[in-house]
Amino acid sequence: MKKTKRRFERYPGVECIIHSLGADEKIAQRLAQMGVLPGATLQIIRLAPFGTTVEVSVDSGQSFAIRDEYLTALKCQILAMPLTYPDVRLHTTYRIRTLFGGRKFQQRMETQGIHPGLFIKIVNLTKPRVILQLIEHEKTVKLGRGEAEKIIIEVTNA
């Protein structure tokens, strides 16, 4: 059976680095002329209602609306993803990259000891709770699904 490609563009918060602009000439040319070239970092900001249109931002500061099929066609390497991303594995060490939410959310996480740069392990991913082990603080934290969606993590070698 053909393995379907992971639909990274469906997860707000995912960051990826573009390796190639894909096969569609017109779309590749459009992106290139907007300055979105291989080597640029994309972040998925949000999905439109009904979900086939995605808002993405580029590291050069633009944000634009694009259909998800065009994103699927890009060759990308995922740099960071939310805790709820399907590829996230239990008992693997990750580093928190960003907190993808408003100031209130960031403060709430801060009070629980969660902040960017922190190393974590995931103890439990079964719905509806996500349980994190904060390695440095030697404690575990329970998070709701909505909160976990906004915690963006990256793979570390540690």
Partner: protein, 666 residues
């Protein structure tokens, strides 16, 4: 007396969302004229101002990301530059994000044409080394704020100097992969630029030939084509990608280097304010209700305020008519001349004037939404729905506003991002159930149906309007009537406060446009209908003997299967002037008396329903036809729209009436 001013053409060019329109308005004020670029539905604006002894025509080019076209707009810009190069290019770049602007700027700098660069919104990043940027680009660079007007006098001074002494000091070199540079060098030796292209750098022309297949095709006769193709294949084989992408990479690499060298801050801080607003307006659950609320307010603002004003103007016209009729110099004239003056010309003027408040309000509120940056968000929210019809999200707003009045909605299609989307939306808008049609339907349903059923009838008319739009959308998509849709990749600009002067200028311009482009057609249309319904001169107006009556009889084999009598066919003809007068026309045609009674006696409920369905879908009023012609710039599209409407109306009524009869209704 000074010597006759020398005329100079300056082209204003930039990528989208850099403040180009604001600068254009600031430089030219109200001395602007609009038209269409040849053969397409893209607006062309030209403004005039004087600089010393020069009279400047400033051509506002559509926003484009590069000279190798992907979109219709870019095609226009490219063709304009290569066919009729301007004396000077005025390029505007966005200081808050230099990277996105510089790609186009670098490409234009290499053309060798005299050029001035304006860095807009300079108040936001002050750490830009302007002289260094100017040295690298080889053209004057002037910091301005298009919004406040700061720096604009310096910009004018720089423009003046460049016009006076157009010699370029140097042309920047953008380094590319060796094979591409070799190809360009080789080709540039072979090109002997003639005519319009003489002023351009041959290396730049060689690049154009390599990047664009269509441009290369147009100079086939010089025998270069084979050489170009050879080089193109070689370059693409070596780099493993299309040449335009290689070129874009080179330009943006150069841009990145330029930014590192000329700015101290690497990139502007992200726009926190826009982010906060978007967290609410584009919120996962709230975005749609908020969008609907904004649309509701927009609709109410345009039509809630506009309709009473329209009525007021209508009353004014009636009062003036009554006054004029009794004036001796008019009442002395022959009957038919009076009839022509009042029922033809005056009525036409009345129709034109009655659109003024709605068109004005429409563009005031649309500019607010557009200039604030919400339009792009609305397009993002609605994209999924409209994508199915081959359109993008913005078209939703136009279609929605068509439910108020088709005319401004069609004029408003100018904001849509591609020719394809504009044409399809223009063709779909006439199927919306506008307020004028609603008046007819309310009148007829209250007479023909019981108060319990009447609201359902109205609702199903709305529903069928919606269904027909969707089906026609699919049909047009399959038909490829307007070519292929362009890829939907739309920048979402930061939110900005709209300016009063910007909104006022835009609205003024649209009203002027409506007056010049649509009004003559509207008046002509009204006079044609007047002629048909009042001639030959010796028969009663709107009667069976008039041309209209004869047409009604002539077409009765077509309309009988729909349950529509010749009298109503004449009323439909009157409906071309404006849908509201269908009811009034019926009163005249049935020969006076209590209209409700007359209608009740002459028309069965089923026939009435069939009549309403026909009214809903057939050709909208002359004002809409005029707007379609003015916007699309094409009689072919206008005619197609007419025929499409008539065919759909006829089919829908036929199916309804015959099914009704078969079911034993009457």
């Amino acid at each position: 007396m000074p010597e006759r001013a020398e005329k100079v053409v300056v082209a204003l060019s930039s990528i989208p969302n850099t403040g180009k329109t604001t600068l254009f308005n600031r430089l030219t004020g109200s001395s602007q004229t609009t038209g269409n670029w040849p053969g397409v539905s893209v607006e062309k604006k030209v403004g005039r101002f004087t600089l010393g002894e020069f009279e400047i025509s400033l051509v506002d080019l559509p926003g484009a990301y590069a000279l190798s076209p992907v979109t219709e707009e870019e095609n226009i810009v490219r063709t304009y530059f290569l066919k009729t190069p301007p004396a000077v290019i005025l390029n505007i770049i966005d200081a808050s994000n230099l990277y996105r602007s510089l790609g186009l700027t670098l490409q234009m700098c290499t053309s060798g044409l005299p050029m001035v660069v304006a860095v807009n919104m300079i108040d936001k990043t002050t750490q830009l080394d302007i002289p260094l940027l100017s040295t690298h680009l080889g053209v004057p660079v002037i910091p301005i704020s298009a919004r406040s007007g700061q720096g604009v006098p310096d910009l004018q001074q720089a423009l003046y100097e460049v016009i006076k002494e157009p010699e370029r000091t140097h042309i920047p070199h953008i380094s590319c992969p060796p094979v591409l540079e070799e190809a360009a060098k080789e080709l540039s030796r072979k090109i002997i630029p003639g005519g319009a292209l003489e002023k351009m750098d041959s290396n730049f022309l060689a690049m154009r030939l390599l990047e664009e297949k269509t441009f290369a095709d147009s100079i086939q006769k010089t025998g270069l084509a084979a050489v170009i193709n050879q080089w193109r294949d070689r370059v693409e084989k070596t780099t493993g990608e299309q040449i335009p992408i290689t070129c874009a990479k080179c330009r943006f690499n150069a841009a990145r280097g330029l930014i590192l060298e000329t700015t101290r801050k690497q990139s502007a801080p992200p726009d926190e304010r826009s982010k906060c607003i978007d967290n609410i307006l584009l919120h996962r659950w709230f975005s749609l209700p908020l969008f609907l609320l904004i649309m509701f307010l927009l609709f109410q603002a345009v039509y809630g305020l506009g309709a009473p004003l329209q009525d007021l103007i209508g009353q004014g016209f009636d009062a003036a008519e009554a006054w004029l009729r009794v004036q001796p110099f008019i009442s002395r004239q022959s009957d038919w001349l009076q009839s022509f003056l009042f029922d033809g010309l005056w009525q036409g003027l009345g129709v034109v004037t009655s659109f003024f408040p709605i068109v004005a309000l429409f563009f005031i509120f649309m500019s607010l939404i557009e200039d604030s940056g919400y339009m792009a968000r609305a397009a993002f929210l609605m994209d999924h729905l409209m994508h199915r019809l081959g359109l993008d999200g913005k078209a939703f707003i136009n279609l929605l506003l068509g439910y108020g009045c088709n005319v401004p909605a069609i004029m408003g299609t100018r904001i849509l991002s591609s020719h394809h989307n504009r044409i399809i939306t223009i063709l779909l808008i006439p199927f919306t159930l506008c307020i004028a049609r609603l008046q007819v339907f309310v009148f007829l349903t209250t007479i023909l149906f019981s108060p319990v059923i009447a609201p359902f009838i109205l609702f199903s008319l709305y529903l069928s309007s919606f269904i027909v739009i969707v089906l026609t959308g699919f049909f047009l998509k399959v038909l490829r009537i307007a070519g292929k849709p362009e890829p939907f990749i739309m920048e979402i600009p930061p939110y900005r406060m709209p300016t009063i002067s910007g909104v006022a200028l835009k609205t003024r311009q649209e009203l002027k446009d409506f007056l010049y482009r649509a009004a003559p057609l509207i008046i002509a249309g009204v006079i044609v209908v007047w002629f048909l319904t009042h001639f030959p001169a010796d028969v009663p107006a709107a009667g069976a003997e008039t041309w209209a009556g004869r047409l009604g009889h002539l077409f009765s084999p077509l309309f009988n299967p729909l349950g529509i009598h010749w009298q109503e066919t004449v009323a439909l003809l009157f409906g071309l002037i404006a849908k509201e007068i269908v009811v009034g026309a019926m009163a005249v045609i049935y020969g006076g008396g209590d209209l409700s009674n007359q209608v009740f006696q002459h028309i069965s409920p089923l026939q009435g329903l069939s009549f309403m369905v026909f009214t809903l879908f057939y050709t909208p009023c002359v004002a809409t036809i005029a707007a379609i012609k003015a916007e699309s710039g094409s009689w072919k599209i206008t005619l197609f729209s007419l025929i499409l409407g008539l065919v759909i109306a006829w089919l829908a009524s036929l199916v309804l009436y015959q099914t009704g009869l078969a079911l034993g209704l009457r």
